[in-house]
Symmetry: D2
Subunit: 244 residues, 4 copies
């Protein structure tokens, strides 16, 4: 992804996005497609468009369980306006939460870049990567979930990638890692791992991973804030923070 | 729009969005469609889907001119992480900026609700509404732009609404108001007016207007933050705040 | 409070705060004193300084119960940096939470401004004000607390105001209102009411009330975020959001 | 600094801060003193209290030049409420801005911890530290300022530390580093270096540095937001972001 200088040109009565008039985008482009174009200057193929759409949908919401959503609803509950609540939600996208997609993408991208990764090498690399994390007593980014043993989203994304013939080296590596982790620890791929691998195969830098998640989760944050405002009394006691 | 209680059900290995399994959404729905479904529980028709897509695209970015984008880039420039920069951008969606779409929608929705609004009445209502604002020395929400005399986005959205046969009473009223304002003050509809009118015709409460804008602008905020990080030195002097 | 134009002059090797060199402030002023000076251009008397200090101390923390503190700790728990967690805390200062101090101040300031408020009139005004809120089924801003029946902070502030001979018309009115509310509903003054009344007697506009609270609670937000980071595992499950 | 578990106990009608009733704090403690007590559980001596006060005052404001203040004022200008504007300001406390105090404190604390640091060794350590940064082409954290060659704040703080006999190993090391940097590059200590060194001598962990700055700058952010709201038209054009 190269971003050379400003990407949107604003003149009187004119808005050009990476050289294309906004009217043209409005008339025929999908929103995720424009997002990718803004980021990279590249127009997605129709298969890629379908894939990106599915990734954003997979990220859309996880009910009131994520800390980011809880922060957003707490803030909305105090009477702060919608946009302040959404901002509080985004602030919860730290390294242990939404940031995990960037860690997962980085691991995959560095491994793929450093090797030819033929079928055989793939397995070895996957084993080495998993072992490195386990040896350090760390969680492997992109795998495991607090609530699910079999998160339904990663298989749905992987199936779609297969159907669209979009399984590239990053996803292949992630699938091998899953096999290793599953046999050793009973842990499966999560949404960060699946979407991060596919986005990497689509050429996106790991540095924008959190941005993709921000876009994908924004729909859910908005809806969850509306639930809080519409269905609950303001300033309610959500909970007592537990001491352990 | 009725939101009764929680909208997403999280069980072990299961995510149901308003009663639909997430796998089903991943496999066949578009992202804007899921957004609308999260908000309202209603699945859009294909014409409506096209329209919503166009509205989100129209909102995608306005270069580095909006205060929200400037706040996001300033924050990114200090070395704060992407999600903090995006949050700062959202915080700039105050009543004078992104909030204007809610004001515009509210004006239109209250006027449409209170009248039968046949063709004749429409013109009278438009005149009365515009006059009320002008008499109070206020700007009419949904009309006028700091940078453009003829913002290219509203006509593109209106053309699409016409082509899709989606011109309802709110957009008709907004177009009449534009005629009044154009002849009196040379002021045209802006993106808040056009998208707010169409969203109102699609049945969206004005209370979620800022949310739609947040989703539509998120793509641009992410891309603009990447521009700042990739192309400029950190902690650069953006400008001196002018004293007037 | 008049704020005419910029308040801090930055020259090469020079920082002047409302006309006073920063070196002079550093050498002899207290921090709350400088805060007031920045806001109003007026230097507090030593009695007032003592009073402001006590108000800020009273606001310092309320453990992990306020939604603002919960939002801050949730965000810290995701691995977001300290300043993002503090920002999320501030975002929880909505109208139903920290904003209540502004509502309380506004009610008092408008009542005091509109009347001579001799001893007799005071009682009548207090009764009328309380009744107005109760008739509308609303809570009286500045009175009542979710956790305390007798919040220990207001009496401590009132005692200090008495000792310093700083009981003015706003505090007198608030005390009368408390008497009315106590006999009718068993409800006492809260921290918003006590500090808002005293700040009003000190001449502060209600528009800055939330700012004073932001400064006073900042110490607690910082400490609570440190507790979260130092004593708990990251990304822990705080709680399930209750459905009612 | 040890933080073992929760620090504030909330019971019905009772608030205890690290074991001390809030009434007691209200009656006799200064606000910065309570801040330190919340953070560390230690009550400052009167000399230390004076020093902390001066550090917070030194941090109070830098007019409209810092990106954090600009972000806060931009957000206020859009009509977002005060607390959202303050939050946006805090979000600008990234590693290149307010975060620099933590970097400065960390460098000093690690150097002091690793050596006996007698007078002689001090000079050698200072030279080595400065050289390490210069060799890597990096700025030395705690030194140099975008606007000032001789920032007036560090000397004022150092003079006070000397007068209070509070010059410890961290400040001594920082002063030696300044001598090295001044002779080689003409660069002097900045506010991060001076306050970070003194706070380190007072025993504060570098991990809370940004928190101290957040408290110190909060007064200025509030006042600057009031300036923006009171003296300027909403949604004004601050500037064009420069392309270089």
């Amino acid at each position: 992804m190269t971003l050379e200088g400003e990407i949107v040109e604003i003149g009187p009565d004119r808005i050009r996005v990476r050289g294309v008039d906004i009217e043209e985008l409005i008339e025929g482009w999908s929103y995720p497609e424009v997002f990718w174009f803004l980021l990279t200057g590249r127009r997605l193929s129709s298969r890629e468009r379908r894939m990106l759409e599915a990734i954003l949908v997979a990220m859309c919401d996880h009910g009131p369980t994520p800390p980011s959503t809880q922060a957003a609803r707490l803030v909305a509950s105090t009477g702060s306006p919608m946009h302040a609540a959404l901002a509080a939600g985004l602030l919860g996208f730290g390294d242990h939460h939404a940031g995990a997609i960037e860690l997962a993408m980085r691991v995959l991208q560095e491994a793929v870049r450093s090797a030819e990764l033929g079928r055989d090498e793939l397995k070895g690399t996957a084993e080495r990567l998993v072992e490195d994390f386990l040896d350090r007593g760390e969680r492997v980014p992109g795998f495991g979930h607090r609530y699910h043993r079999r998160d339904p989203r990663p298989p749905a994304l992987v199936r779609l990638a297969e159907r669209l013939s979009m399984v590239g080296p990053h996803l292949r590596l992630a699938l091998e890692m899953e096999e290793v982790l599953l046999s050793r620890k009973g842990i499966r791929m999560n949404i960060d791992g699946a979407s991060g691998a596919i986005l990497s195969d689509m050429g996106l830098s790991w540095r924008v991973g959190r941005g993709v998640f921000a876009l994908g989760r924004m729909s859910g944050l908005i809806a969850e804030v509306m639930v809080e405002i519409s269905c609950y009394k303001p300033f309610r006691k959500f909970h007592e923070i537990k001491a352990s």
